[in-house]
Subunit: 301 residues, 2 copies
Amino acid sequence: MALADSTRVPGPDAPIGVFDSGLGGLTVLRALHERLPTEDLLYFGDTARVPYGTKGEKTVRAFARQDAGLLVARGVKMVVVACNTASAFALAHLSDVLPVPVLGVIEPGVRAALAATRGGTIGVIGTSGTIRSGRYQQGLEAAGLPAERIRAAECPLFVPLVEEGLGGHALATLAVAEYLRPLRDAGLDTLILGCTHYPLLAADIGAYLGPQVRLVDSAESLASAACVALADAGLLRSGPRAGRLGFILSDIPWKFAEIGARFLGKPIDDVESVGLDEMEEAGHALGSGRTADARIRKDPS
Amino acid sequence: MALADSTRVPGPDAPIGVFDSGLGGLTVLRALHERLPTEDLLYFGDTARVPYGTKGEKTVRAFARQDAGLLVARGVKMVVVACNTASAFALAHLSDVLPVPVLGVIEPGVRAALAATRGGTIGVIGTSGTIRSGRYQQGLEAAGLPAERIRAAECPLFVPLVEEGLGGHALATLAVAEYLRPLRDAGLDTLILGCTHYPLLAADIGAYLGPQVRLVDSAESLASAACVALADAGLLRSGPRAGRLGFILSDIPWKFAEIGARFLGKPIDDVESVGLDEMEEAGHALGSGRTADARIRKDPS
């Protein structure tokens, strides 16, 4: 990998690692690239095991551990969990076992919603896992929002609709109405798009809810948080060279070229694929906590 | 596991193993249980990595190898691949590496369609992987059906619609019309439901295509083929005891109880879950061909 760092303790020139269950996190990669244009970014999408949002907590945590382990093995200086379900179920575990800083998308999403609301009800939509975890709801309540101003809804068909490129299609219109009717009736003023796929349905969602509802996604807020965290750790990359983007996937899906370009906003030229064996190894290599073992990473290849 | 066989070479009293990417294969399990009521059946659903139908050939083959390996490690006397995508991409590989007979769903589906047609056009619908593999189309052509009498269509949203329990819903009606319009316009007389999820949309599909189109699924034809194969191998279980059903899953999905009961036609009481580690081990234990190594299986636990 061109982006790999061969030092054992990654310095400012190491890439930022970003992972998601699949391709949805490319919307986050895009925001990071815009906010931090000189940083190298290494994206891993677990396309072999996507989706995470329908799956149980233990399974998602085991997958997230392998995903983050793979990025750490490639020498990243920070890991961004660009998947809401993985952030909901695995962020605490990853903070414990990773030898580098780790950021999730939920806290930035909560902050962005609190900044956007004008005193009304805040809604949050996401996968079954994200919504049932209660993490967004807890985050809003912890910030002082009373429970009666919070509404949440699972939208399990949104991910497959986006993966099939059906934003704007009659099927998306119908699914949006089906899932969002209770939220619309609750009189929202702000809606958190609690899944990195959902920005690709923003037009459908906005048309249904009307212009008075502000749609919030975590990407920009997360990019700002990453900037601050890197600065605090003395890890911001300086220098005039434009940041490079690297892509690793655990499967090359049938419609990858089309779908990937839609998420990233431009074609993805060069993709490395990794097999099950390397994923397994990456999970095992992390160890069980912030011990010396957790800092051992293999040389990037 | 109550169903495990502790002998090294499984005899007639060993269970039949059945696997699928998730819960769709329970429609096949049901047909096997009806056709072979004294056989014990051990089902494995790879719910942690479902779906397979959007993923590439290499990935599906690696998963199928672990799935089958897990069943072999539990002492099954035969493996039924109750997943069309895995049958399309992995049946030849599994036949090569498994120490027990293996059956897939595609050949029985082709036979059932040829028995059902009255000389018109045969359609086949399935996941992107199954349709792009061309296996059904090749099977029909090999049986002498001219290419102009074969139509195929990918229906990628059908699996998530079924998983969400939306058979009969307006979203299913719309998706059926969207995917099947070209087939209906081609004047089908027979349609192969080339995915084990699709029988749960049979009412929607039948309403759209009309009563002149016969809907064919592989399950009954496969159950007959399994009966013949077991008899040929001297492995049919005799005796009056009713066959027992065992269930192993790699993840317990959020909506498992509801969805599993819908597929099986009755509640699923007792489920064992396996982790990533056991899946990895099962894949590695198979070896690379019909060698002595391929026959080593660990003691059932």
